[in-house]
Structure formats: structure tokens, C-alpha cells
Symmetry: C2
Subunit: 292 residues, 2 copies
């Protein structure tokens, strides 16, 4: 792995073994240096500032609200939480029974934007600072803003009788700070252990699968929302999973049947598990080109 700059991104993403790998590698060069002196880095300009990204985020939120209102009337038999051991190659889902409906969301860059700490990291050369992030979880309430259209979305889901639950890799030790943060962002009440699940709640570490199972034992989960594939299933974060295989799992027929039909993905080019990708993962020899 490549040191601190990716550590927390990988922890937030739920990538297997991220903690064990932290101690063995030196810190990387500055990550995500600003595109221009005094300006935000390019991905922050796009996600946090552009009308283009706001349109995309609002559209995801609108799709979730519309889907939720429709789905509850269907009285579905299956949730959208994969059963333990099921994979995209042979998907099986937790059954709904007559459990009450729920929608389960990641928090960071899924319900709220964390612009203030991302700015501090950028201004110090780009590296993610776990100590600063820990402070942010404790004291950032009121400074983290709901994403465009998110307040309307959660309100619409609740009005349709769907319990809104957050499943986030924020730390269980900072539960009150995260409850306060979501409330101050206008997203209502989230109660640790009932509608807020955190890293440290169980032995799963950064994997969200065990917490999803806990939630699915009480609720018929009809919506999963996130910005990274670990927000949907830990199978996408298996250690040393080749990028091409991750791509195949995530874009194959079973996944395609779920995207926008129960699984909802928000754009996040600011950080993510894909920050390990190299040029060989992006372009192949048959697309090499040089000018004359």
C-alpha cells in the first residue's frame, strides 16, 4: 500500500487489511496537489463546486426518492443486501419477510460533504491526516453540509415509511460527534446502534458486511447508497482483487440489474479505493499514442 495518503481512504472504503498494511510503508509524495496555486485541487473543484457535479448528485438523490416510494408499494420479497457468502456471480439476497423497510447509506461523500478537512489536507500538500479527521468526527457538526438534494431525499424516504440508516466507517468512539454532524446537516436523528452503524461496532473492522447483516436482520433493506463499492458488498474489496476482476463484478449482468434499482452510487473523484490504480490499469498497449 502507499502510506497515509491512501490509508484513511482505504479504511473508509472498507478495504481488507488496510490497518495491517499501514505500518509497513513510508509516506507517499504529496497527494492531490492543487491544480493551481491557491486553487482547490481539480477533483474538489469538480465535486464540491461545479454545477455539473451538483446536477449528478441531485439526480441520484431524486432517483432514490422515486425508487423508494415505488418499491414500498411492491412489497418485495428480497432485500438488496446480499446474503452471507453470496457473490455477484451467484447473487442471493436477504429475504424481507414482513420486516419494516429501510434505506442504508454511507455517510461521507454520500449524505454529507466534508469540505473543511479536505481543504486542510489539500493546503498541506494532500495527505489525509487521521488525527485531523478524528477531530472532525468529534467537532465538525454544523460544518459538514448535506449534499445537494439529500435533505429532500431523506425526507421523502421517511414520508414513504422507510427508515433511513447510516452505515459508515466513521469511528464508533466518535458516535456522538457523528450523530450531531448528521443532525446539524439537516438530516434528522441517527441513533448509534439503531440507525447509525460505525467502524468498531463489531469484529468486522472496515468491512460493512457484518453491519449490513445486523441491519438486515431487523429491516427489509430496499435501498443501499454509497460512493464506493464497499458500501454495497465487501466482495468488491477482497485483498489483492485484480482491478479487471473488480470491474467485471461491478459492471456484469447481476450488478447491472441492481444499479439504480436498489443500489445507488454517488460520484466521488476526491478519494476512493481506486487511488491505487496505475497507468497499466487505465490504458493498454493498444491505446498508446505519441504525436509526431
Amino acid at each position: 500500500m502507499r502510506g497515509l495518503a491512501l490509508t484513511a481512504g482505504l479504511l473508509l472504503a472498507g478495504c481488507a487489511s488496510a490497518p495491517a498494511e499501514v505500518a509497513t510503508t513510508p509516506p507517499p509524495p504529496a497527494a492531490a496537489a492543487p491544480a493551481e496555486a491557491g486553487k482547490p485541487p481539480v477533483p474538489l473543484q469538480y465535486l464540491y463546486g461545479s454545477a455539473e457535479a451538483a446536477i449528478a448528485v441531485r439526480a441520484v438523490n431524486a432517483r432514490i426518492a422515486g425508487y423508494g416510494a415505488w418499491r414500498v408499494k411492491e412489497r418485495p420479497r428480497d432485500s438488496v443486501v446480499l446474503a452471507p457468502g453470496a457473490t455477484m456471480d451467484a447473487p442471493r439476497f436477504e429475504p424481507c419477510g414482513d420486516k419494516p423497510f429501510a434505506a442504508v447509506f454511507d455517510a461521507d461523500e454520500t449524505l454529507i460533504w466534508n469540505i473543511a478537512p479536505m481543504r486542510l489536507f489539500a493546503e498541506k500538500g494532500g495527505a489525509f491526516d487521521l488525527a485531523v479527521w478524528d477531530q472532525w468526527e468529534k467537532t465538525g457538526a454544523g460544518k459538514a453540509k448535506a449534499m445537494p438534494g439529500t435533505v429532500e431525499m431523506v425526507n421523502a424516504l421517511r414520508a414513504a415509511g422507510i427508515t433511513v440508516i447510516a452505515n459508515t466507517n466513521r469511528s464508533a468512539g466518535n458516535a456522538k460527534g457523528s450523530e450531531d454532524t448528521l443532525r446539524a446537516a439537516g438530516l434528522g436523528e441517527f441513533k448509534h446502534g439503531e440507525t447509525l452503524f460505525l467502524m468498531g461496532d463489531d469484529a468486522g473492522g472496515s468491512s460493512k458486511d457484518p453491519r449490513r447483516a445486523t441491519i438486515a436482520s431487523k429491516y427489509c433493506v430496499i435501498i443501499l447508497g454509497g460512493d464506493q463499492l464497499g458500501d454495497f458488498s465487501q466482495q468488491f474489496n477482497v485483498k489483492d482483487l485484480p482491478a479487471a476482476q473488480r470491474m467485471a463484478l461491478a459492471t456484469g449482468p447481476a450488478a447491472t440489474a441492481l444499479w439504480d434499482k436498489g443500489w445507488f452510487l454517488f460520484p466521488n473523484p476526491v478519494y476512493g479505493p481506486w487511488q491505487t490504480l496505475g497507468w497499466d490499469d487505465i490504458s493498454s498497449t493498444d491505446s498508446e499514442w505519441k504525436p509526431r
Copy 2:
């Protein structure tokens, strides 16, 4: 404006007055420096490499194909091209009459990904190089790849009787290179002046509005696709338009009625007109925060 690094991005985006501003500013510091030595810059890792972005792009393409097949059966009265002078505040659209159907797309980072030149720019410190880009337009055929799901999308639209047209700010002088590029990407035939419209085709310069009017005089345009707001209307690119006003126009009720219902936006955090945004555009004083 801030020199070469943004120039071509703004030209491709159709921003008013970009050419006149090139000569008056010094080159900026290196833009979009790699997040880590030897790795692609973060926005390229995300867009060109991540499963997350591939999912989003495939989903846009699937929505376009589904919408097109549905819309042609509606025999709509209005196109989705704004009538001359109409704005999002008071939208009016070019009427369809009994014109044949068309879907009009930008090309770069809307139909195809231009990974090879973006890699060269990144490896040289980030600045967009107009001379290299010009060579790419001329000789890049076979190296520019169709985006995920795009071949299927254009095939589906054509099968539904919808003419697929490209309206791009690639240069009219390189028409053959761009025709070859789209064909080699598996996207079929585009013929300059009929189904391929380029910068230099008329007196509008980098504005796509006059070309859209030309297309709309012959076709009932039921789909517009792009990665930047200028791909939909030049009103979003008015010189010195404040960021907050651009946001309001793009996310207000009239635009919201169009996004995913005729206007389809692809994610592109690699370049765009939003690269002029500063920290003040992204965060306000009420979201400032510092750790203890």
C-alpha cells in the same frame, strides 16, 4: 483566465471569449500534478480506471438508450434544443414538426475517452498542449476508445430510428481525423456537415448554439448528451457569469425537468469549465473549521 492549462478546456467547453484571453496571462503552475509519482492524477484514476466511474457512465448510457426508445413512440411536439434567445428562466424549445428524430452528443469524454493525450499532459506536468491535441485529432483514430456502454447506446438509438449526431469543439480543419476516430472507436459513420459538427463550421466559434440550431432545423432533437453545460446551451457559459448563478440555472426547476429526461450528463472530473472555481466558490465562512 489562467493560461494554457485551462485554455483548451475552456475552448472545448465553449466558454465565451476564451481565445481573446489566451494572450494576456502567463502560464500557470503545473496543473493536475500526479497524486503520486508514476501514478495517474487522481481524477484520471477515477474516471478512466475505477469501477465506480464505469458504473456511472454505463448507467447514463443505459438511461439514454431507454429514454430514446420510449420517446420516439411519444411523437413529441417539442425538441430539447432551446429556441434562440430562450433561457432556463423561461424555456422554449425548437418545435419538432414532422422532422426525423436525432440525438446530439458532444464527442470528447461524452462518446470517447482521450486517455493517451491526457496521459502525455499529466506526464509533462499537467498543462493542456494544443499542438499535441491537434495531432491527436489528426492521428488518434484507433487509440481513442468508446466509453463504457457507448457502442451499445448508439446502436440502440439507431435501431429506434434516431439519427446519432456529434456536435464537438474538435476543429473543422481535422474533420477527417475525427470521422476516423469515431468510426475506429466502433461508433459507426459520422459525416462532417451531416452528422458531425465542428468548431469552425460557422461564426459561433466555441459556442455550440448555432450548430444546434442548424441541426434542429433538420431534425427533431430528442436527446442532448455531454459532459459540460455548454453541450446543452451556451447560456451556461456566458462570460463572467457568477458561479452561483450558473449553479441556479443548471439546478433550478426548468433544468431539473430536463436532466435525464432529454438532457443527459456524463461525469468528467478530468477537465471542464469549473477549473476556474476557487475556495470561495466551494466553501463559505459558515463551514470553516479548524482542529484544536
